[in-house]
Symmetry: C2
Subunit: 112 residues, 2 copies
DNA sequence: TTTGGTATCTAAACAGATTATATACTAATG
DNA sequence: CATTAGTATATAATCTGTTTAGATACCAAA
């Protein structure tokens, strides 16, 4: 059977960029935010977030720094770069189109 | 970079079921229908359709038969089964929820 | 006869997501 | 004080739907 994560596939990076637009964050927190919004239907594994971070950092979409580990486990923070913001804008535009197409295809509405 | 097909991933089978609800069809035709609806943003390769057919037939979602090859290349037709119809209904319900969640996550609207 | 469209099929490669596992710090429980 | 649970990061190996590439085959038009 398909991964449950196939529903999110291709959008993980877009969602991470969207969250980081609100301010710097770190893997564990982002994973929890997605899980909370997922309402039990969508869930992400933390490994998915961390591997996405690696890709996105290489592409220059994110910058990273270590938080000052005062109490608790160390955190690696990520911030969105200028390129990341531009990339998000593109992805958002694409999603709006893709969403319309997918709705037409899945629900079967035709607009001639 | 991500496959362009990652946008469709996880929904291919749902779309095939949706199309077959309108009547029996075959791989080449289904691929063209998705391509036409895809507006250049979404595209499927025929191999994706054919491998999906195999999976879906094994799951009992589809039944298949050869068309009478009067002129032109032979066609293998597929029809949706009862199980396939029930499966589509489930997938449609899931999609409606997933679509909402994805829109919230990607666009960043929160509903407290 | 060669090109292009129609039509199906499969092995191998691709890549994002998952699984499994390791590490490490802190707070609360017993 | 030992144990458990929560927080937090990381990576190798595996999984699986999709893509790539190649094969086969029929027909019509140039």
């Amino acid at each position: 059977m398909a991964h449950s994560g196939d529903l999110l596939r291709g959008h993980t990076e877009t969602i991470i960029l969207r969250i980081l637009k609100d301010g710097d964050s770190y893997g564990y927190e982002i994973a929890k935010k997605i899980m909370d919004a997922g309402e039990g239907i969508i869930d992400v594994k933390d490994a998915t977030i961390y591997t996405a971070f690696r890709r996105m950092e290489e592409e220059g979409l994110l910058a990273t720094y270590w938080g000052d580990g005062v109490g608790g486990a160390r955190r690696r923070y990520y911030s969105i770069t200028e390129r990341g913001r531009a990339n998000y804008d593109e992805r958002l535009k694409e999603w709006i189109k893709v969403d319309q197409i997918l709705n037409n295809l899945i629900k079967g509405e035709q607009n001639d």
